[in-house]
């Protein structure tokens, strides 16, 4: 029987070529996977950041609405309330004709509206009852706060508005940020701001940067609901 001859010099050229080609292919696949994962990670990070910001904003809106109307006039003696007319709160301020003639939400009210809400509450910052206003301007949800006083609450809070949440796309999608549920006994023609029982909040927020893979901006939608606890005095 003829004995097979083995080379003592190592791999043949063909073996090296095959090995190199295989290595290149596998490395290429691996790097492309890695690159894909990296892009995916960047995209998700952007969305996560938008989600986190929207979540914080939603939580704050809910907290403010929970405190709306605190303290009510009924929680003070008549003498104290009459001498401090701005020391107690209605749940929600409105415009026009505040505080004389309540408007009708969805009809004659400019505020509260789809993209505007003004809460009255003492939030414990030592400044007494505040007008806390949320207003969507373009794609930025603004928040402003000023002590309750005489005059129109919109005018009074204009200068205090500051960007609170960016890339809010509700306006572009014609989808309300704020929708309202009223006390069950309130007919539509009498839906004054004081009769708002629940505020449903929808935030459509777009990521700050496009997705690196698709080059498309991604959006998330957060919804929340806040019940008015305080009386509507």
């Amino acid at each position: 029987m003829k004995k097979r001859q083995h080379s003592a010099g190592g791999f043949s050229l063909v073996e090296l070529l095959i090995g190199t080609i295989l290595f290149t292919i596998i490395t290429g696949i691996a790097f492309s996977l890695l690159m894909s994962a990296q892009l995916r990670y960047q995209g998700e990070s952007t969305v996560t950041e938008a989600f986190q910001q929207a979540n914080v904003a939603l939580d704050q809106i809910v907290r403010d609405i929970h405190s709306a109307g605190y303290p009510p006039m009924s929680s003070f003696s008549a003498a104290a309330a009459s001498s401090n007319p701005y020391g107690y709160a209605l749940p929600f301020a409105w415009t026009p004709s505040y505080p004389g003639t309540p408007c009708i939400v969805g009809s004659t009210c400019t505020v509260p509206g789809q993209y505007e809400l003004i809460v009255e509450a003492d939030i414990g910052n030592g400044l007494g009852v505040q007008w806390i206003r949320y207003s969507l301007q373009g794609t930025t949800l603004m928040r402003g706060m000023t002590p309750k006083g005489a005059g129109d609450p919109v005018g009074a809070t204009n200068s205090s508005l500051a960007p609170y949440l960016d890339n809010v796309m509700n306006g572009n999608n014609s989808l309300s940020i704020f929708t309202y549920t009223f006390d069950s006994t309130t007919p539509p023609s009498q839906r004054q701001p004081s009769y708002i029982r629940e505020v449903n909040i929808t935030l459509i927020v777009q990521s700050a940067h496009p997705d690196p893979q698709t080059q498309q901006y991604r959006t998330i939608t957060l919804t929340g609901q806040a019940v008015r606890f305080n009386p509507n005095q």
Binding site: F23, A37, N55, P72, S74, A80, N84, G87, I123, F229
Partner: protein, 464 residues
């Protein structure tokens, strides 16, 4: 071999990236969950405080609120319900304690009181049993409420609630502030606050202005004529004993306090009521208080809708609600057998009711139809005849109503709510011992009500 190692390394990198992403998501959701949990835990604390304010609660904190046992919580008193986790110390007084009550200073301008003014009780939370983790609130604080503590003016007298508004003149039930701090294991903190008072109905009952109150317009009163009318078949011939007495039977010995015997709300009804309330010796009140006269009522008692709200509120707290079919009448046999002097109850009758027999009822009786009273029976507490507003009695007896009676017509014959109060009527032509005002029974009746939330707020924490 090399290829396998390299592939493994790449897979590890990808897996690590995925784990990081998942970790971030988990942390976000964990934070949100913890924040939500602390909010609802804090609210649970508020509810424990509110529930244990109720005098009928087996774990009532009445002695914590007011160790002296007086009629109201003293101004500088504070009561804490503590709820420490195992091995932890919760001391709201101690500024170095992780659960120190820093909000007290904001509201009252002073540090948490010490000594006898500071009382604590332990929570009812099942966390104490160690079986199921209860809500993680650390403490619940109960204080009286004043205009000052509510950040409105400098008036620091305790506030009371009359069913519609607060006042500092003592009308109605005392207003309390309940504050609750919750801290979760992930250190999410929430501080929330209720303002509470006894339900409007109880607040309104708290200051009944007369032993018999006839609320409305065109009211009528008919008592036993001259005190010696004997036109009935009852064997008890004791109508000379009929009296309506506004003097408080529970006044300390040697002192005199009380209210009017008969009160009406529309001055134009004065002549007819006064003329019927004879002889004058049967209608008594303390010196300086008219025995028969005009009385003022809290707003909730001045309108049919307010009174309806009151009845609805009482019905929600009732031990028994009887709704006899139209045309039928229920009587004293339907009253709960467990009702006693030590266990007064709330009974609401949506219709006509015959309070007959020889027994004694205890607590609050609400009748929306006609109340027919046989004075062989007695009642200790308050009777509200709100609806048809008709109280009739034609027999003799030895029974007495200890407490107060309030009558108002708010419904028409069809049961529809009137626009304005109608003509309530009280007719007791037989006899009986009448009505004896008792502040103790009025208070006992008031205590049957639960506390209602007047306002709520969440307080931002300055030092987490």
């Amino acid at each position: 071999m090399v290829i396998a190692l390299f592939t493994l390394m790449l897979i590890s990198v990808v897996a690590t990236a995925l784990i990081l992403m998942a970790g971030t998501e988990t942390a976000l959701k964990g934070n949100y969950k913890s924040a939500m949990q602390s909010f609802y835990d804090a609210k649970a604390g508020l509810e424990e405080g509110r529930g244990r304010l109720w005098a009928r609660n087996p774990d009532s904190i009445a002695s914590c609120l007011n160790p002296g046992g007086g009629p109201m919580m003293p101004l500088n008193q504070v009561c804490y319900i503590l709820n420490p986790s195992a091995g932890e110390v919760v001391n709201p007084q101690d500024p170095t304690n992780p659960y120190a009550d820093t909000e007290y200073q904001t509201e009252w301008g002073t540090a948490v009181p010490t000594g006898a003014a500071y009382n604590t009780v332990m929570s009812d939370s099942p966390i104490a049993s160690g079986s199921i983790a209860g809500p993680l609130y650390k403490w619940v604080r109960i204080t009286p409420r004043t205009n000052l503590s509510g950040n409105l003016g400098a008036d620091n007298t305790p506030l009371f609630f009359d069913g519609a508004n607060s006042n500092s003149t003592g009308i109605g039930a005392q207003v309390f502030t309940i504050t609750s701090l919750a801290v979760t294991p992930y250190n999410s903190r929430r501080l929330v606050q209720y303002t509470v008072a006894l339900a409007g109905s109880a607040a309104a009952l708290g200051n009944v202005p007369s032993a018999l109150t006839l609320d409305g317009n065109g009211v009528s009163f008919t008592g036993p004529s001259g005190g010696n009318n004997n036109n009935n078949n009852n064997n008890n011939n004791n109508n000379n004993n009929f009296k309506i007495v506004g003097n408080d039977v529970n006044a300390p010995p040697g002192t005199q306090s009380g209210i009017s015997a008969i009160g009406y709300t529309n001055p134009s009804d004065g002549p007819s009521v006064s003329m019927a309330a004879t002889p004058s010796g049967s209608y008594l009140s303390p010196a300086g208080v008219p025995s028969v006269g005009v009385v003022s009522l809290p707003p909730i008692l001045q309108t049919p809708s307010g009174l309806q709200t009151l009845v609805n509120g009482i019905t929600q707290n009732a031990d028994l609600v009887l709704s006899p079919p139209p045309g039928t009448v229920v009587d004293q046999n339907s009253l709960p057998s467990a009702m006693s002097a030590s266990n007064p109850m709330i009974v609401v009758v949506n219709g006509d009711f015959n309070l007959h027999g020889h027994g004694t009822g205890y607590g609050l009786l609400v009748v929306t139809g006609t109340l027919d009273y046989d004075p062989d029976a007695s009642w200790n507490g308050v009777i509200l005849v709100i609806g048809q507003g008709t109280f009739t009695s034609s027999k003799n007896g030895t029974g007495v109503i200890n407490g107060a009676v309030f009558i108002a017509q708010t419904l028409d014959a069809s049961g529809n709510l009137l626009a304005n109060l109608g003509y309530s009527s009280f007719t007791q032509t037989g006899g009986g011992s009448g009505i004896q005002y008792s502040s103790s029974w009025v208070k006992a009746t008031q205590a049957l009500m639960t506390y209602q939330v007047l306002s709520f707020r969440e307080i931002p924490l300055k030092t987490p």
